[in-house]
């Protein structure tokens, strides 16, 4: 076995293991000097990203990567009784998001947290967030999903409370912690229900056992209700959105950006359980575990509420990061909407082929677009805070005179989030509008209205922060490491804007095919 094969086989577990090792090495290395911990964390995060790249090539070339921990060929115990990592097109898609955002955020943080003490703890937690998110999107085992869910929530709470001189950061961290712990307990209950019924923890094995038991029972439907609640809370959808704006706005600049990517792991888990467990399809009898029409509508309604309430709350905000946090909620609604249409028409292959696949492509493409442009916007908001020392839009003006790069980056992000052609936000939103229109025209109209309101809100931010008279002591441009972190995301946004077709066929399509069983594919 050559070295490349060896790395390819083990890439899934290494992507989780490298940041975990780095997380525990960072405080030790941090004793050497202030700067050591930042380089160690960057080194291990880039190793993890490299592993994700290997994994992506392998999965796109030769189908899903199944990695069973502690398994030797010839063992009499079936593989799915062990802890299994199951990486398909959708898992790789989410891992790529985390790989990109974690590197950008780590580089951005070099300068951003330079004035704080306890930097080694910051970088430790940053890597643990990456561990939690990689684990959530790569595992095939529902109990491990719970463990990584808790790791990611706990590390994020620690980071939200990083600025210890403010009481508000602890308030936000406690609020988020309370919600995520309660949802963790409910998730554990759902895991217990699955285990009690089928004696299994592997998601694909559960799906098959459910299928041979004749579809989802009442208990399974209770478990589904718990799972939808838990994961839409993690994703920050509306009825459970209360802690999200607080946590996003109180977290340090870079952390809000990685928060977006980590929340999307919750979105992943929602779609993974909906499609892989409940949308499982028996190729012989043609029966589905559950008629997902109702589930699809629930997800769509959550999406519409998130879109609309998120954007209307954003319009009235004066705090730049809080405003962006409400926009993050609103954009999550688009993903719920696109993929929700896919869930609703899952048991109808004709409608699926007519518009369901396009809706899912739009929803899933929007996930990566959102991680990029919202990550960029949070980083620019952090840059504004870094120089202006305030987040209140009424207290800042004329920053564009001196912070030219930040202004341009903000403009790119704002155009992308508002869906102005030819930015990447436009491509994914267009896919959603067109396909959702065929499903239900009213919903498509709401989605377009929300997009207009988004643009209005970002025009307001642009004018109050960057335009206006030159301030008396104009702040200088942010340090190069922060610009470098933002540049990574900007380059990717521009690339995605120029070649949306390439991205959809190469990256998004494998993810859609991995979710919809009868399309066939990786």
């Amino acid at each position: 076995m050559s070295l490349w094969d060896f790395i390819g086989t083990h890439s899934a577990i290494l992507a989780v293991a490298f940041p975990l090792l780095g997380a525990f090495l960072t405080p030790v290395v941090g004793r050497l000097g202030e700067k050591a911990s930042r380089y160690v964390s960057f080194f291990f995060l880039s190793l993890a990203s490299l592993m994700v790249a290997f994994m992506a090539v392998r999965v796109w070339d030769s189908g899903p990567l199944v990695y069973t921990l502690g398994y030797r060929s010839g063992s009499s115990i079936p593989q799915f009784f062990r802890i299994q990592l199951y990486v398909d097109g959708f898992g790789v898609f989410m891992a790529i998001i985390m790989a990109v955002v974690s590197l950008a955020v780590c580089m951005y943080s070099w300068a951003f947290v330079d004035r704080y003490t306890g930097q080694e703890k910051y970088y430790t937690l940053l890597q643990l967030v990456a561990v939690g998110s990689y684990g959530m999107v790569l595992t095939g085992d529902i109990f491990n999903l719970f463990v990584f869910f808790e790791i990611s929530s706990m590390a994020l709470c620690g980071l939200v409370a990083f600025r210890t001189e403010r009481g508000e950061s602890f308030e936000a961290a406690f609020k988020y912690m309370l919600y995520s712990t309660i949802s963790g307990v409910l998730l554990l209950f759902a895991v217990g229900i699955f285990y009690g019924e089928y004696d299994l923890l592997n998601m694909r094995a559960i799906a098959e056992a459910m299928s041979s038991a004749g579809g989802a029972s009442v208990l399974d439907k209770i478990a589904l209700g718990l799972l939808v609640t838990v994961f839409s809370l993690k994703a920050g959808s509306v009825p459970m959105h209360m802690p999200t704006p607080d946590a996003y706005s109180e977290a340090p600049g870079g952390i809000s950006a990685i928060f977006v990517a980590a929340s999307q792991a919750g979105l992943y888990a929602l779609f993974r359980t909906s499609f892989t467990i409940y949308g499982h399809y028996d190729p012989i009898s043609g029966a589905f575990n559950l008629d997902t029409y109702t589930l699809g509508w629930i997800v769509i309604v959550l999406g519409i509420l998130s879109m609309f309430i998120g954007v209307t709350m954003a319009l009235v905000q004066k705090d730049i990061k809080r405003l962006m946090a409400y926009h993050a909620i609103s954009q999550t609604g688009y993903m719920f909407l696109g993929v929700g249409v896919g869930i609703a028409v899952l048991s109808d292959p004709v409608k699926m082929a007519a518009f369901g696949v396009d809706a899912m492509r739009g929803g899933i493409f929007h996930i990566i677009n959102h991680a990029l442009y919202k990550g960029l916007l949070f980083l620019t908001a952090g840059a504004v805070f870094y120089r202006a020392q305030t987040r209140n839009l009424n207290e800042m003006h004329g920053l564009g005179h001196t912070m030219k790069y930040t202004m341009v980056f903000f403009m790119i992000g704002a155009l992308a989030i508002a869906g102005i052609p030819p930015m990447n936000g436009f491509s994914s939103k267009l896919l959603i509008y067109e396909s959702v229109y065929q499903f239900n025209p009213i919903i498509a109209a709401i989605a377009m209205l929300v997009s207009v309101l988004t643009l209005a809100s970002f025009v307001k931010v642009f004018y109050s922060a960057f335009m206006g008279p030159r301030p008396e002591n104009p702040p200088e441009e942010v340090p190069p490491s922060m610009l470098a972190g933002m540049t990574i995301l900007v380059v990717l946004i521009l690339f995605f804007s120029l070649f949306p077709g390439l991205i959809v066929t190469r990256i998004v399509d494998p993810a859609v095919r991995a979710l919809v069983p009868y399309l066939g594919g990786v």
Binding site: F143, F146, V147, E150, M154, C157, G158, A161, T164, R166, G167, E168, F170, E171, A172, A173, F174, K175, M177, L178, T181, I182, G184, V185, L188, F189, V191, G192, Y195, G196, D199, L201, D246, S249, E250, M313, V316, Q317, R322
Partner: protein
Amino acid sequence: MLWQLPFIVSALLVIIGLYICIAKTNLIKMVMGVSLMESGANLFLVSLGYRKGGIAPIYTSSPGGEMVMPTPQALTLTSIVIGVATTALMLSFIVMMYKHYRTCDARKARRLRG
């Protein structure tokens, strides 16, 4: 009916815990509610794996006979460890909030609004 008692109790624990989280305004009581919910989930897992008359699942020199299921016990151990970590973290957040706000009342310790 009696064999379902652990499940009923675990459901009750979760419901009581949730009620405490919603109805009480003292932050420390909220953490107690969360801990109660965690205990309910742990009890649920352990009682799932129990087999009547089963022995501890230790394979070396076992006297034979039915064993209780080891997996839920492993899950419970993991979940207890996670529970300790979350409780400790939440309590430390409350300590720091008290330092800044001088109150543990959820109605007063609210500066983030809107």
